[in-house]
Amino acid sequence: MTTIAEFSVQYSQFLDSKSTLKITEEQLASHGINADTLLIFYKHMLLSRTFDTKAIALQRTGRLGTYPACIGQEAISTAIGLTMRSEDVFIPYYRDVSTLLIRGTKMEELLLYWGGDERGMDYSVNREDFPLNVPIASQCLHSIGVAYAFKLRQQPRVAVVVCGDGATSEGDFYEALNAAGVWQLPIVFVVINNQWAISVPRDKQSRCETLAQKAIAGGFSGEQVDGNDCIATQIQLEKAIASARAGNGPHLIEAITYRLSDHTTADDANRYRPIQELEQAQAREPIQRLANFLLERKYASESQLKEVQTQCTQAVEESVQRYLDMPPQPTSAMFEYMYQEMPEQLQQQLSQLSSHRE
């Protein structure tokens, strides 16, 4: 027997859960990370958290449908948004508030969508980004087509596609990995490992030691990062995106994080999740971790951070108001976007319906 192939998976954590920086400030600086950029990072995370908290409240009061919050995942989501370029294409799953807001999606657009209105996915800014994606892992294959188009047209653009730990069990996920490898496509796969897929814990989802190693089946590299570490996520994503842009093919990042909320507002995690686990996870969450670091290093003062919160709250409230003020779509909207031109059959159905509702 001879060894014919060897693989390894690395883990990166630069700001640990005690807010201890594990690299030097020089190293930070070499990646362009400093007090200012960290404060921006903090703002984005907090905006996402504030938005989620409000969205849950809106749902509870009947002004939003079922909502899946991103609480706990703000670091990785923000890092993606901040490291992508506007000409890149983002292919989200459904817990990507921070990435999307950074890329230009408006909060009221997200509210419209979760409020049951398709207009929410007609992003007014990031026009080429994909809509939120509910059928688990299916978006991974869309990223193949997007990145293939970049390659075909020799554009230095990158597709970033996100999915959950549960998604790594779906066939579509693997078909995408394999194809990305074959064509050496400019894609960064980000697996948000928040430890749960609704009620199914990570260790029932796969026997793999890491989800990062799934990339080995695609013939390319995968790595783990502490997904609650705003520094590690940024640095490792920067590298992966730059490498993909340079034509070195795909890469997978497994971001270790934790879903601090219920799966959605329709879920009750107490049925399956040990409360201690949640408490332990709370101690590792990204926003307080960064806040502590900013305060310790005197990169920011308590009052500055409070001011950020005030700004976030105000921005969210304003967007909620715009959402609530949106005039409803006419019934015909249901028919109008099925095809570029409405076929006769649909026209007939629409006019029947209209005459009936009159």
Partner: protein
Amino acid sequence: MPEFTLIEAVNAAMDYEMSVDDNVIVLGEDVGANGGVFRATDNLQQKYGELRVIDTPLAESLISGMSIGLAAQGLKPIAEIQFMGFIYAAFDQFLCHASRMRNRTRGRLSCPMVLRAPYGGGIHAPEHHSESTEAIFAHVPGIRVVIPSSPARAYGLLLAAIRDPDPVLFLEPKRIYRAQSEQVENNGIALPLDVCFTLRQGHNLTLISWGAMLTETLAAAEKLSEEGIEAEVIDLASIKPIDKSTILDSVEKTGRCVIVCEAAKSGSVAAEISAIIAEEGLTSLLAPILRVSGHDTVMPLFKLEQQYMPSVEQVITAAKKVMEY
């Protein structure tokens, strides 16, 4: 006698059959500790253990495909697809293998599996959570498609589905999961498959429907009755194979038929029913066969879903139209 909602009846039927038949096992996403996102499998894992009530990885083709292997080994898997909108990845295995195993091995292997899924709209659910594409399955030879419309029928038909020696797709109208409670004797007695249930006698016209839409259909029948129009209401129940004789007999009696379904109109099960009548019962007809259905659009996000789904008024309008014909 216990009072069951439809979802409780589903749970009770599985529980009953697991208790009397060791070969019955349950699998799917979140069916274990969580008891399913609608609680259909509530408590089953506690009772029957993790080996018989299996939280699968998040993979629908796996759920469908492994059931085929389980069934080939003599087990009776009840597999849950969390929402019908996620059943398409399970379709390949169901169509290419589950439905054909008996035929392609001349009976050597068979596939006594049940694929359960909540289906239909009307609960303000997110995208992809409100599908009613039963017609797609009703075209597949070798399977049965069953849809209950009340707690008692859910109980009796699910028992029948589990015991059936061939694959059954069992679609549960989630809009009425908890709409109504009724007394159901938890005695393990199954209802027959392959037959319709006539829920209301009438001689003026025949209303045919299934699943949650029977709510609107029965309500329409009541209102019509107030105006002196007596509708016979048939719950199709077995979508495949269709019980043609009950339908043809009723239409022979009434001469008029309106079919009510939630699915997109073109190619729906309503089309098959209409075609059966046009083929074998044409001479009975005194009026065109109307379909009151969803539109040939995607089920919209929930702000517009009520405009998509057939209403009581639409059923009444159609009924009057055929009456006035």
